[in-house]
Symmetry: C2
Subunit: 426 residues, 2 copies
């Protein structure tokens, strides 16, 4: 085993070659990985079985994430094949401009370089992230959850075999297994270009304070649904239930429901009944308790809580603006929805709510790279600067400026010549 | 004076209002600032005179940057008026997609929020940054060099007056004056969305390690020019001289010249002669010294040095690939140029050099927001992730995803319904 710095330096070197390959070669690699998974299902499931056997004290939700089965393997294979069909994210021209007659500026998309991706216990995340990295021409250092070690090792070994069969240096993707290695990697700002941590909020913050490398932070999801004064009752109940109960452990599940005071007496009992039918504990503000007295009383802390569980806080607000203010104050700028039949309310909400996703009449659970048609995602960024929201292929590329001339000097333009700045077709 | 956190919170609040204003209102503000500058030239020059009087121990180059005169004021006014003519960076739709028949996804550009911009001794930078912030709908906390304090204070006060005349809350832009305040601001990750530090490399690194807020790092400019085997001699000499001597204190000035060994015996003497005519000290590798014996011998340290001065290191390399390797190893990924008449060399260089700007047959000094047609720039980013290179208006906006439906739930799509993912016209 070479030392860690040498290993990462090798990944960097082979990532440059990967970024120069044609899209056909990169897609071939994805198809080859799908083939390896298809022909080695038993080995994967057996390695995963070893992880599960060692992890018998794991909470049921985490165990569910760790466990692979034939269905999940089929989904992984289909995901690879679908990704191979998506357009190339590289070589897009986003600026094409004559600075002067013979001085042509182009801005062209290109790989970022080497990604450091730290993900949780889901072994299928490794395949998804590796596939996105290959498609976008990036190298990656991967670190999965310790409890998924055997699964990650067999999956990476199959990916390496697949890359070898299509003559791509397999070292463009490497797995590290310890926390100490990740801490070391956070200091390699000359070799790693972007860190993508997935996991708890505290963990993401830890990474942000301990590295100078840019971080795509996938942090809290404190999402809201606001039921406005005028709304289709049945739709409002259905979307609220879906946003909370369809998969409460997801970051895009709703944590706080806001209800306009004019409709609260009528709709709150319906919503509570439907949520309780899905085993959701409802916590209410004092106004809510006047309408449905047997709710759990909500406290100030509930408005800033990411339950990730079958719990929902409900607050009655006097106006659309009060709902917007509450969301911008307590929310995590992830995904928030308004349910309303008034298009002006919807427009104002979508303009003023400062979140990556601002929805009208649909479930917050749609905030996801697959559902947006990105093929897959490496995470959902709650930072303000791009990439914001679900990060797919497009979030894994950068660009460079190519300028071509015939010997132009800046001195000429300080002594009389002026720029043309004429845009050419992209 | 309110406490700093209250001040920044007020800036945040008024930045939201700014971001909701029409482009006409934001442009009016720019024109109003231009008007204030035009009618208060004497006060500005007098405040600047006070700064200059206190700074008589300043190095000549810094004094030159600090000093305002009528020409610089005219440039500032023209810059504001030009910026007002540029298209609105907000409300651009970059994704428009039917996820399903009635479920429509849009990605729309919007302001980032509040910027923290730390700039050096040039008072005109304050006006430029303030103008870019207003145009892009962002609030900003500004911190200029201590030696420019009086100049910055009068300029900000004129900007505040201008904003008041067009009924925009002036507190969307604030000036802080001490280093202690900046240190406090670096911790306000709930109020500040992006830090843009301009200054020394050490300073940028310090900011990156002391804040969880994303940073657009404007760091070293170790730029290269490579003279290839086949090249127009006269053009090569002119572009090299311009890249070095036209303004050596700029980050886009060349620091190392690489020359293909086949052409070195012929071109090196010409380049040295021309550079010396511009008072440039030339430091050469051992091969260079065999051709021009009276060069200062270059050492390993010279290849990683940002002189920002009339000094140039020269190295002879055996091949195009050796030049690319040298640049990717020692460079700062800022701007690098190849001078060649061979289009294949140019293409390979532009593909393989991993820098924000990769040029062919023109001066590295073109790397600049004004010259690219961005209207102005807040800095040049040497990070790999976007915004990379000169950061203008487009680098000061982010986006949000708006999803509008008719009550769609995710549960429906896990039970049979499938996504359409059909792109609509932008």
């Amino acid at each position: 085993m070479p030392n860690l710095r040498d290993l990462v330096a090798h990944t960097r070197k082979s990532s440059i070659e990967l970024g120069l390959l044609s899209i056909d070669r990169r897609n071939q690699a994805l198809v080859a990985i799908a083939h390896q998974l298809r022909t080695h299902q038993e080995q994967v499931l057996s390695a995963n079985g070893a992880d599960l056997a060692l992890a018998d004290d794991l909470a049921p939700a985490l165990r569910h994430r760790l466990k692979l089965d034939e269905k999940k393997l089929q989904d992984m294979i289909k995901g690879l094949e679908d990704l191979a069909k998506l357009p190339d994210p590289l070589h897009h021209r986003t600026i094409h401009r004559q600075l002067d007659e013979n001085l042509i500026l182009q801005r062209i998309s290109c790989p970022i370089g080497v990604l450091g991706v730290i993900f949780e216990s889901r072994p299928d995340a490794l395949v998804q992230i590796a596939a996105l990295a290959i498609k976008s021409g990036n190298g990656a250092i991967l670190k999965g959850g310790q409890e998924a070690l055997h699964s990650c090792q067999i999956l990476l070994s199959l990916i390496h075999q697949a890359l070898t069969t299509v003559s791509i240096d397999p070292h463009c993707l490497e797995l590290v297994t310890t926390r100490a290695e990740i801490m070391e990697i956070l200091q390699m700002d000359d070799l790693i270009d972007l860190i993508i941590p997935r996991g708890s909020n505290e963990f993401v913050r830890y990474i942000q304070t301990h590295s100078r490398i840019p971080v795509i932070g996938h942090a809290d999801g404190i999402c809201h649904v606001f039921i406005d004064r005028e709304v289709d009752r049945e739709m409002a109940v259905q979307v609220t239930v879906d946003s909370k109960a369809q998969y409460p452990a997801a970051c895009n599940a709703v944590e706080t429901l806001l209800i306009h005071q004019d409709i609260a007496p009528e709709i709150l009992p319906l919503v509570v009944q439907a949520l309780r039918a899905h085993q959701v504990e409802v916590r209410g503000c004092s106004q809510c308790l006047q309408i449905v007295p047997d709710l759990v009383p909500a406290t100030e802390r509930d408005w800033a809580e990411e339950y990730l569980d079958l719990i929902l806080a409900v607050k009655i607000v006097p106006s659309l603006q009060a709902a917007i203010d509450h969301i911008n104050h307590y929310g995590s700028h992830h995904t928030d929805a308004i349910l309303t039949s008034d298009p002006r309310s919807a427009q104002e909400f979508q303009q003023k709510v400062d979140s990556a996703g601002v929805y009208h009449n649909c479930s917050t659970r749609f905030a996801d790279g697959f559902r947006y048609g990105f093929g897959a995602e490496v995470g959902i960024s709650t930072q303000k600067i791009p990439p914001r929201g679900p990060v797919g292929l497009e979030g894994l590329v950068t660009y460079k400026y190519l300028l071509s001339g015939r010997g132009e000097t800046v001195a000429d333009y300080t002594m009389g010549k002026s720029f043309l700045h004429r845009d050419l077709p992209l």
